[in-house]
């Protein structure tokens, strides 16, 4: 058989006809788009962070790390960075806990489960800016639905100006971010739960395991990969959540709800200071890269065991 194959005359075919070469050729447009719209901007931002720029972001003079030095010497940069971390930790923790709880509930067969699943998706299905605008009106002190409901039900006779004070504005923003992010977590966890073999629970029940024991020893370990991926993605998205804060408070009052991403926007597009803005973007990139690497290390370590 091999001899027959070897003796056959080699047929010349066009280079795009072999499978692997064709695959690469077909990937080229996607690669070009990735380079143009992802790699090039990232490289340009890194470059910009090392340059003095003019008011429209053109590179003027190489100043090494001066942008970073200026940034690190400003108290407000550290305040905003720490606030971004707190914002991410609180939001992702809440989204994970609530999302997991909802997923566990939706995993149980009950009447109306399909409707419940549809309702859970709604916040995520709406556009984020639209949702944020709706909440902006809901939080309105004089005309908003929240305060109106609190007053007429007697639950809170004098509710606060939710967006008018630093602490309440921060938690008001946080709530909206959590509200929007819960559906994604719930759906991902639900998909993960449905891949857990039911016979494991049956065997555990036969052994007399309690609900908590089943959750701790079966559900959690098997859900771990999904948990890791979902929380990592949530961290990346939450850290860079521009829409909610920009629409609700624009970082106010008095910059008390500014996180790194809204601060970067302000520096770049309100103050036209692209150099420091790029430096902040590099810092944000570094934080998220370290986080991703930590996650990856933890994920692959647990895979080995």
């Amino acid at each position: 058989m091999d001899k027959n194959l070897a003796s056959r005359p080699k047929v010349k075919v066009a280079f795009w006809i072999t499978e692997s070469t064709l695959a690469y050729l077909l990937l080229l447009p996607a690669i070009a788009v990735l380079i143009a719209f992802m790699l090039y901007p990232i490289v340009y931002v890194f470059l910009t962070s090392l340059y003095k720029t003019n008011r429209i972001g053109n590179l003027v003079k190489f100043i090494e790390t001066d942008n970073f030095k200026t940034l690190f010497s400003r108290r407000e940069f550290w305040e905003v960075t720490i606030r971004s971390v707190i914002w991410t930790v609180l939001a992702v923790s809440a989204k994970t806990l609530v999302g997991l709880t909802i997923a566990l509930l939706l995993n149980v067969d009950f009447k109306g489960r399909k409707l419940a699943r549809t309702l859970v998706i709604l916040p995520w299905a709406s556009s984020v800016p639209i949702s944020a605008m709706l909440w902006q009106w809901t939080y309105n002190y004089d005309f908003g639905l929240l305060n109106y409901t609190l007053k007429i039900t007697g639950l809170w006779k004098h509710p606060p100006h939710w967006l008018g004070y630093p602490l309440s504005a921060f938690f008001a923003n946080l709530y909206v971010d959590i509200w929007i992010g819960i559906p994604f977590m719930a759906l991902v966890f639900l998909a993960g739960l449905q891949s857990v073999p039911p016979n494991l629970y049956e065997a555990a029940e036969a052994d007399g395991a309690s609900l908590w024991q089943k959750f701790y020893h079966i559900t959690l370990p098997l859900l771990k990969p999904v948990l890791l991926i979902a929380t990592l993605l949530s961290c990346l998205w939450t850290f860079n959540d521009f829409n909610v804060i920009y629409i609700l408070t624009k970082g106010g009052p008095v910059n008390s709800t500014d996180i790194l991403i809204t601060f970067i926007y302000k520096y770049a597009f309100s103050f036209l200071k692209f150099g420091p803005a790029a430096a902040m973007a590099v810092v944000a990139f570094a934080i998220l890269l370290i986080l991703s690497l930590l996650y990856a290390w933890f994920y692959f370590k647990s895979e080995r065991y």
Binding site: R55, P160, G252
Partner: protein, 414 residues
């Protein structure tokens, strides 16, 4: 045959890759700021009428919210795709000149148009070069509830801020009705603070003998006095709505329209808004007060239409300006936005002989505008933070303004 057809079809699509074909319309894009009171029908009709009268030009009027316009323009400029024309706050002109994107507009326009513009509105004429065409000149007024004033035996609008406080205390009835509105939420303009600052004979910068701006002086006696008074209205006398840092000036205007405020300091255009929204209460207007013993220096805000240097169809854009600045379209615009006309011919029309417009014109005497410096957007932001920190009790007015002035002087030296 099939192959020939396919090749022919492909070849016929190639010209589309090389841009617009010969004989295509000249495209002109115009960012129009959304003034309160300006109805969509107005600019849709303007767009349609111009295109019908000029079949070789494709005008696109793009409405943009005022609070987003500056950022939108910066993004467009940085992306290399600015519009041909845009309404701008004239205070942004220096910034755009510094970037190098402004086309001096006078050479594209007819002498008749230029001569028909009120000289007082030509804020965009710098070193004898007209860079942008005035589109709106906005005096500011004090509006008040004349029915409530009458009920409390108050004769007319206050002349001084001290009188305003007295009247506000008389009519204040929280939580349903407040004496005077105050905005403390950051906005694209610093009007709230400017009323009190200019009314206290203060200004943002020292003026050098050659007319240029010196050091920031918001933290001098006039500035600190102004902010202290504002803070006292909010936190000491409590005659304003609560939670002022949650309210932009548009939201304070909404409170007045909904009947919850007795006094508001706002643009003169509010007359049009109140009529459009069909308010049933009685209201009246007066000049922005001053502090006792000080001269009156009201705030004058002008907006302009700027042409971008990158515009590929400057003559077509200029043709639109000639069209827009015809009496018919300017009358409609000025009536809806509620500002006095910038055109002499429109100013003579019967509509603008109404008392309110006479008061508007008289109020411009002694008026001061925003500083024309490239870093004004950042200065605006810094001063707003100082005001917010004061209202929230985080800093005293002196501390907040000292920090703001130092920071502003620092960025101007960068």
């Amino acid at each position: 045959m099939k192959k020939i057809g396919l090749i022919a079809m492909t070849l016929s699509l190639i010209p589309l890759l090389f841009g617009t074909p010969v004989g295509a319309k000249k495209e002109v894009s115009f960012f129009l700021a959304l003034y309160d009171g300006l109805r969509p029908e107005y600019y849709q009709d303007l767009n349609r009428a111009f295109n019908e009268a000029n079949p070789d030009i494709d005008l696109k009027v793009i409405p943009v919210d005022w609070n987003k316009l500056h950022d939108k323009l910066v993004v467009a400029i940085a992306g290399g795709r600015p519009p041909d024309l845009s309404v701008i706050g004239t205070r942004w002109l220096l910034e755009f000149l510094d970037i190098g994107v402004v086309e001096p507009i006078e050479k594209h326009l007819s002498k008749e148009l230029i001569d028909n513009i009120e000289p007082g509105a030509m804020e965009a004429r710098i070193n004898n070069v007209l860079y942008a065409l005035p589109v709106a000149a906005g005096p500011r007024f004090l509006y008040y509830r004349s029915d409530i004033f009458k009920k409390h035996g108050i004769a007319g609008p206050p002349d001084t801020f001290e009188e305003m406080l007295t009247y506000a205390q008389k009519i204040n009835n929280p939580p349903n009705f407040y004496g005077v509105g105050m905005s403390g939420k950051k906005y694209v303009e610093l009007t709230e603070f400017a009323y009190y600052l200019l009314g206290n004979d203060g200004y943002f910068f020292e003026i050098n003998p050659d007319g240029s701006y010196g050091k920031c002086r918001v933290n001098d006696e006039a500035g600190v006095g102004a902010l202290t008074f504002m803070n006292d209205l909010v936190n000491k006398y409590k005659v304003t709505q609560s939670g002022v840092t949650a309210y932009t000036r548009d939201e304070v205007q909404d409170l007045f329209v909904s009947g919850k405020l007795g006094i508001i300091l706002i643009g003169a255009y509010t007359d049009v808004i109140l009529k459009q929204r069909g308010v049933t209460f009685k209201w009246d207007y007066g000049l922005i007060p001053r502090f006792a013993g000080k001269d009156r220096h009201p705030l004058m805000i002008t907006d302009s239409i700027m042409m971008f240097e990158a515009s590929k169809n400057k003559e077509a854009a200029a043709k639109f300006l000639e069209f827009f600045y015809q009496d018919e379209w300017r009358l409609g615009f000025d009536k809806q936005v509620g500002f006095p006309p910038v055109l002499k011919s429109v100013g003579k029309m019967p509509y603008f002989q109404a008392p309110i417009y006479k008061v508007m014109v008289n109020s411009m005497s002694g008026a001061k505008g925003w500083p024309l410096i490239p870093q004004w957007a950042e200065c605006n932001d810094i001063i707003w933070d100082a005001i917010g920190a004061t209202f929230l009790g985080q800093k005293t007015p002196k501390e907040a303004l000292d920090e703001a002035a130092a920071r502003i002087d620092e960025i101007r030296e960068e």
